[in-house]
Each structure stands twice: as C-alpha cells, then as structure tokens.
C-alpha cells in the first residue's frame, strides 16, 4: 500500500517526538455549515488528524454525548453523501490533515461498498474506522478498502487478548485505535498505568502507531494518555461543547465554532505537552 496522509502525519510527528491529537466530531453537527467551519478550524487548533463521524440512527458503541451529536446531525439533514461532500469541501484548502471516517456499516452497505470506497477516495478520505466490522467480517469492506488505498483502522480493546491481537492487527493500517476501557464512548476515564501496559502489549505485536481513545475529557487526561501512546483521541468532550453552545432551539450560536475550537486547542496543548 502506498504512503497515505496518515503514514506521513505519524512519520513527521515521530521525527519531532510529538504525539498526535485526534479530534472527533460528527459530520453535520449541529448543522452542515457550522460543522464545516469547525472542521476547517480544527487543524489550526492543533488537531493532527480529524475523525469525522458518519451519523447513524443506532450507534451501538456510543454513549449519550455522541448519540446526541449523531441525532443533531441527522436532524439537520446530514447523510453519508453529505458527509463525503464535507470532506470534499474541506480538501479544497487543506491537503495535509488526514481524515478518518468513523461510524457503522449499514449506511455504507446501503450506499454500496464499491461506490462508497470510490467516492470516499475521490473526496479525500484517508481511512475508515467501522465499529461493527470485526476481522471476522473483513471481506465486507476492509479488504476492498485496503485494495483501493484507504487505511482501515481497527479498534483493539481490553478484551482483545494476545491470542486474538494478531488477527485484529492483520489487516489494520494507518494506526491502531486502542479503546482504553470496556465500554461506550464518553464513559469512565482510563488510568494511565493501565493504558501504558496495554499500549506496550499492542506494540509487541505491531510497528503501527497506537492512538488511545474513549473517556478522555480534559487536557490533563489527554497529556497523561498521550505520554504513554502515539496519540490521544477525544470525541465526547468536544461534542459536549457543541451541545452546550446551542441556543434554546438547538441551533448553533456565535459561540459554537469558537468554543469548540477553544476546547480543541486546550486538548491539543495537553497532548503536545506529553
């Protein structure tokens, strides 16, 4: 597979011994225009990688924050096609920041796997994280995506034991996303020493960078986790800021973009201290 934006990003970060800040927002939250503004601002606020959620009605692995964010986006009319359009517009003036789409398989299955891979690649997507496609279902999307030059980033979890890790890592590329807790997004925050051990365990099986996510809410937590991994992923804490900034009708306010990017900047600063 040729070098992707993800490979380049981790290479550059590695050379300067800095950690990656991976920022998650749902595409279209709270509305397509505001969401695109947030997306545009994230790299300047310090995000090295953007994880863009593909909204879905039934996000089984997500907690209340990301569920709500997904619902806001759907209510504002976001679709998978709309998500790809956002990526396309983002790419008109940013060709460096890697974009990873994160979500669930059904919208892609309905879009059509081949059409989706083609359109995603054209739009400037670099990788995919599909929560409900474990290695047992690699034929569905993972293999065709890899063949098309898209990274397929797998989640490794505390329940993925040493016997299973090689299978999980086999078709993983770009980076490994270590889910620091058994649970849904936005729940309890992980302990640094536990994460350190877990990352070391994953690294015994792979040379890929390992980013850690689920439950990181503050700059301090981001710093602590990033110090024992190659990157930290934050989602719920960011979309909570979006939620809090909305007016009484649930519409974006003048603070929505600024407050979200301010939070991103804080988290990025934390990661960069690591």
């Amino acid at each position: 597979m040729q070098q992707t934006r993800l490979d380049n990003t981790f290479k550059h970060l590695g050379e300067s011994d800095t950690k990656a800040f991976v920022a998650f927002v749902s595409a279209g939250d709270p509305d397509p225009v505001t969401s695109l503004k947030i997306m545009h601002g994230l790299p300047t606020a310090g995000a090295d990688i953007i994880e863009l959620g593909m909204p879905f009605t039934d996000p089984m692995a997500d907690g209340p924050s990301i569920q709500a964010s997904s619902q806001r986006a759907l209510k504002a009319g976001m679709t998978l096609k709309g998500t790809l359009d956002m990526v396309r517009q983002f790419r008109t003036d940013n060709d460096e920041t890697p974009i990873v789409l994160m979500g669930y398989y059904n919208p892609i299955y309905i879009y059509g796997v081949d059409a989706f891979i083609y359109d995603a690649k054209q739009a400037g997507v670099d990788g995919l994280i599909i929560v409900d496609l474990p290695p047992e279902e690699d034929e569905e999307l993972c293999i065709p995506a890899l063949n098309a030059g898209l990274n397929f980033i797998r989640l490794a979890t505390p329940t993925t034991d040493d016997a299973r890790l090689p299978e999980v890592l086999a078709n993983t590329s770009g980076f490994v996303y270590y889910v620091s807790i058994t649970g849904i997004t936005g729940s309890a925050s992980p302990k640094r020493n536990v994460v350190e051990e877990a990352v070391a365990r994953v690294k015994r099986h792979t040379d890929l960078p390992v980013a850690v996510g689920f439950g990181i809410r503050t700059a301090e937590q981001a710093e602590a986790i990033a110090s024992v991994a190659d990157g930290a992923v934050v989602g719920s804490a960011l979309v909570d800021v979006i939620a809090e900034s909305l007016d009484s009708h649930g519409r974006s306010s003048p603070e929505t973009v600024t407050e979200t990017l301010k939070k991103a900047q804080e988290l990025a600063d934390g990661v960069k201290r690591a």
Partner: protein, 412 residues
C-alpha cells in the same frame, strides 16, 4: 437472478443446515459487533456448542421444561374457530399456557443454564412487550442472579402490568428514551451495557436475532414448539399438518414452530408480520414486506430503513412486534421461497383478538392475534381435512388495558 442463498440451498438440499461457521444463513446473519464484544460471542459460541452436546445440560433443561414451564403445551383443536370459518381444521399450539404466559420462557431457560455454566454473575435483557423481560426476570429469580431489563419508555407505558411483574420478580427496569423508546432502542442500550460489563454479564437476547450464535441458539431452544407439534399431530391425525402459521416480531416463536418442518415439503409455512396501519403506509413493522437487507444489532437481515441506511421506527399495536428488523434465518427463508411471509394490520389483529376470545374462551396476546387474523383469510377457502396449526405463543392478560383503550372502553 440466482442469489447466493439459492446456490447454497441447491448444494445443501436442506433448509436446516444453517448457519455456516461464520454464522451465515446465505448472505444473512454474521457477526457485526464491536471488537469488545467479539471475544465474548466467540466464547458463547464455544460454550453453547459444548452445552448442546452435554446430556447433563439437556436433561436439566428438559426437566425444567416439564416441571417448571409445564411442557409439552397442548395442541388444541379449535372447534368453534373451525366452524366459524367453515374450512380448514384449525389447531392452536398452546404456548400461551406456559409458565409466564408465552413462548419466551423456552429460550430463557436454555440461556440461563448456559449463563450459569459460563460462570456469569449478572443477567441483562431487552424487552418490547415485556413478555421476554418477564421470562428473563423469572429465570433470574429462579437461579438467583441479579437481572437488569432494558425497556423502551413508550413500551413501559403500554405494558404496565408486565413492568410491575418484572419488578416483583426482582428485576431492575432501565427505561430507554432514545429513538422512539421501543424494542430497537432497548436492544441498543442492552448492547451498550454488555460492552461495559463484559466479564460479569450474560445477555439473554429474546429472539432469533443478534450476532451469531444467538439466532441459531434461540431457534434451537424454541424448536421444542415444532417438535412437540409434529409429535402431537402425528398422534392426533396420523399425519403432518398441511399449513403452519405464526406471528413474527424478531421471529423466535415462528422459527421454533417452523424449524422441525422446514424439510417436510408437503407443509406450507406462513409467517405473519405486523402490518400496523398498513404496509403501504410508513406505519408498520413488516421488515420483510417493507424493508431491505442491511446490518443492525450484529446481523445482516431485512430492515426498515431509509435511502441513507438510517433505521426507521417500526409501528405496531403490539409492542412485541414493534421491531424494524427480523431474524436472519427468516430473511433466508424468504429469499429461498421456503416460507411465505404476509402481514396483518393493527385493526385485523384487534378483530381476531376479540373473535378468538369470544369463540374459544382464549384471550390471545396481540402478537399471535396477527397470525389468528391470517387464519381468517385462508381457512374458509381450504377443505375440511386441511390441517392448519397456529402458534398461540402468548396470552393476552398483558394486553387487556391497551385493548380497552383501542376499543374506547374505560376500565380505570
């Protein structure tokens, strides 16, 4: 067009070989779950594989089916319904007489024994009508395990008697407000709990859906319905039934009745989905009639969804049928043509509910009332020696309040 499913069929020459080692029935089924759960469902598959071959496990299950549930349930000749329709000879498989009032207990006993075997310390479940929740709460009480039941807020409102029963049995009820607050949302929430409490918790899924091995496992535990029916019919009439009919939410009572007959070519098999306000409106829960294949809750199957692959809310008068999906084996049986799937509307189910109550002195649950209403469409045109079996999979005690409301009767 020859589908993969048909190809698989022509090779296997049997409808009972599924699922394959990947949990597939043709293209349906599978294991579409988050990595956190994957090791658990592999464990479960192994544990179930061992248990089903273990005579001690099977003996204990059978003993409980006999003495705790009250099986075998009768196969009852419904003389007055038969007379009323003036055609086929109608039999009712009386699973509503089971302890707890529905077929759900058949499956719950199997799964709780498995949970014990696997050393699990806590039980979770989703429920729609509350029949599965009651059955889970019952076996959890019987085996002394704490139990949490996820139930949509809408369903809690329309199934109050069952909510109270579950509480009496010691279960904790977690109201689910996401989505429309019905069965689909309850299942999402149960899966979220399971991901969080992987070590301690056993998830008792209530129908033939979810990731492999659930669809096959639940079908196996429910197949006792069909096995008994076969035996009882041979004893009564000296031959197999001509037609089977069952209602379908996720499809477990139907799979249980159908499965032992799938390779009996002479037997016509009919599944009845919930037509809500009509399958030509958006307000129904007939995933086979109005949905298309997609992936939700761990398996590929027919789903009610929009053009963007977003799942739409089902609607049915019956909380137990109000689910936008259906078990993957039914999806396969539809595509192969082995089983015919039809639907009945809310109105038709309500009419059948009243008719059966008045003619047979049996108050059916709203779920099997859908299957009952289909009898009215086919029985009159069939000869009097045609043996028609309907699965009376639940009793209507839980529904009397909501039926009163639909009939505009105030019972306080």
């Amino acid at each position: 067009m020859i589908s993969e499913t048909e190809l698989a069929m022509s090779k296997a020459n049997s409808y009972t070989t599924g699922p394959d080692e990947n949990g597939r029935f043709g293209i349906f089924g599978g294991r579409f779950v988050a990595e956190t759960l994957m090791p658990l469902i592999l464990d479960l598959e192994k544990a179930y594989g061992a248990a089903r071959q273990d005579p001690a496990f099977l003996d204990q299950l059978q003993d409980l089916q006999t003495h705790y549930v009250g099986r075998p349930s009768p196969l009852y000749f419904a003389e007055r319904l038969t007379e009323h329709y003036g055609g086929a000879k109608i039999y009712l498989k009386r699973d509503e007489l089971n302890h707890t009032g529905s077929h759900k207990i058949n499956n719950c006993l199997g799964q709780i024994l498995l949970a014990k075997r696997m050393g699990k310390r806590r039980i979770i479940a989703e429920t729609g009508a509350g029949q599965h929740g009651v059955a889970v709460a019952t076996v959890a009480a019987r085996f002394g395990l704490p139990c949490t039941v996820f139930m949509g807020a809408t369903d809690i409102e329309r199934q109050k008697p069952n909510v109270f029963r579950m509480k009496l049995l010691g279960a904790e009820i977690m109201p689910v407000t996401s989505g429309a607050g019905t069965l689909k949302d309850a299942m999402n929430e149960a899966l979220r709990d399971w991901v969080t409490n992987v070590d301690s918790t056993f998830y008792i899924i209530g129908t033939v859906a979810g990731p492999h091995p659930y669809p096959a496992m639940v079908r196996d535990f429910q197949s006792i319905i069909g096995q008994e029916t076969k035996h009882q019919m041979l004893e009564r009439e000296g031959r197999l039934p001509d037609t089977l009919c069952a209602c379908i939410g996720g499809g477990s009572n139907a799979m249980g009745l159908f499965y032992p007959f799938l390779d009996d070519e002479s037997v016509d098999i009919i599944g009845v989905e919930a037509g809500g306000h009509g399958i030509d409106t958006p307000e129904h829960a007939a995933s086979l009639a109005g949905g298309k294949p997609g992936v939700l809750h761990g398996n590929r199957t027919y789903l009610l969804q929009d053009d963007d692959g977003q799942i739409t809310e089902g609607h049915s008068i019956s909380a137990g049928l109000d689910y936008p999906g259906i078990g993957p084996e039914h999806a396969y049986l539809k595509d192969t043509g082995r089983v015919t799937y039809v639907s009945a509307t809310d109105r038709e189910a309500l009419d059948a509910f009243q008719l059966c109550t008045k003619l047979e002195g049996i108050i059916p649950a709203l779920e099997p009332s859908h299957a009952l209403s289909h009898l009215g469409k086919i029985a009159p045109n069939l000869p009097s020696d045609h043996l028609l079996v309907m699965n009376m999979c639940g009793r209507g005690d839980k529904d009397v309040f909501s039926v009163a409301e639909h009939l505009n009767v105030d019972i306080g």
